[in-house]
Symmetry: C2
DNA sequence: GCAACAAATTGGAATGGTTCTAAGTAGCAA
DNA sequence: TTGCTACTTAGAACCATTCCAATTTGTTGC
């Protein structure tokens, strides 16, 4: 047995197998670090593996989410999107273009946010979503300075 | 013409009529200040108005949201819930009970949150959702002290 | 290698909240 | 009245997702 990559390792930890379908789906999500829907993942994966089924795409995405290799994110009631960024971060939904941008959150801010919870509330996760418009030119320079990661 | 109530006024401002259906739906949402789904609103409204249709409930809820009389809130891909609390606030989703609690946010924190956006990002709204568990006894006393409003 | 068994994939059907459509009803204006 | 528009309604349609039953694939013990 060869040295297992991160995916195979994480799957094995959960008693699951590394399959060609899971590998190509994980690759596709890591390659282009945007926030594709299951349909978009399906379309991209079919370039490499034309025989894969949409049901399998859904099954594999759920597996990857449960193994903490990918995050599922929802905006309103739109189709679920999948995010390869595992660090705690917020999302900015650009209503003009429909694109999603990751927004880094200082740990200090996360603490302040959690501290607004009254006694007795125990939050396992916090989700922060901005909605608005992002002007592209300034945006790109801000990203180049490392203030935010672009994500379609 | 008699003095119009808040609902009639707001509808008139948008060039819309105050109908019995819109009135009863708005009343039902204000009466019990939880976060009902359209189906739950439908069930409650039928007590007063058995002939109302579910399509009308959806139509009226959308109207109320567009007139800024009610807020629509989404959790994952669960059915949309409707919130009568118009002040800026976060939501705590208790995974055990499925109940939603309003969490008040200090204006100071809202400013800090918006300040994490890089230049070029213009947010029209921010949505903050906690997920976890809330222990009922402590919760009630915290609420009595005014730290949070209960909401089913 | 070969059974036996379990895990994973697959196509297609089903689900379910929401939206759409077309027909009917109700209120307002000339 | 008559017309005009807004509103409501029942049921069909939509569509992302889940479910199902059948097949394929992989693993384990011999
Ligand atoms: Mn959008
Ligand atoms: Mn829940
Ligand atoms: Zn992300
Ligand atoms: Zn609320």
């Amino acid at each position: 047995m060869a040295a297992p990559d991160a995916l195979a390792q994480r799957l094995a930890d959960s008693g699951l197998r590394s399959t060609p379908q899971r590998e190509v789906i994980y690759d596709v999500i890591l390659r282009k670090r945007d926030h594709p829907t299951a349909d978009e993942v399906y379309a991209r994966v079919r370039a490499d593996m034309p025989s894969i089924s949409l049901a399998t795409v859904y099954n594999c995405l759920e597996t990857l989410v449960q193994c903490d290799l990918v995050r599922a994110v929802n905006f309103e009631r739109a189709p679920t999107r999948y995010c390869p960024n595992l660090h705690p971060h917020a999302h900015f939904h650009d209503e003009q273009s429909g694109s999603i941008h990751d927004i880094q959150l200082p740990a200090e801010l996360l603490e302040k946010i959690s501290s607004v919870l009254p006694a007795g509330y125990d939050a396992k996760s916090v989700q922060i979503t901005f909605r608005g418009s992002a002007s592209s030119p300034r945006l790109e320079s801000a990203e180049r300075r490392g203030k935010a990661q672009p994500a379609a």
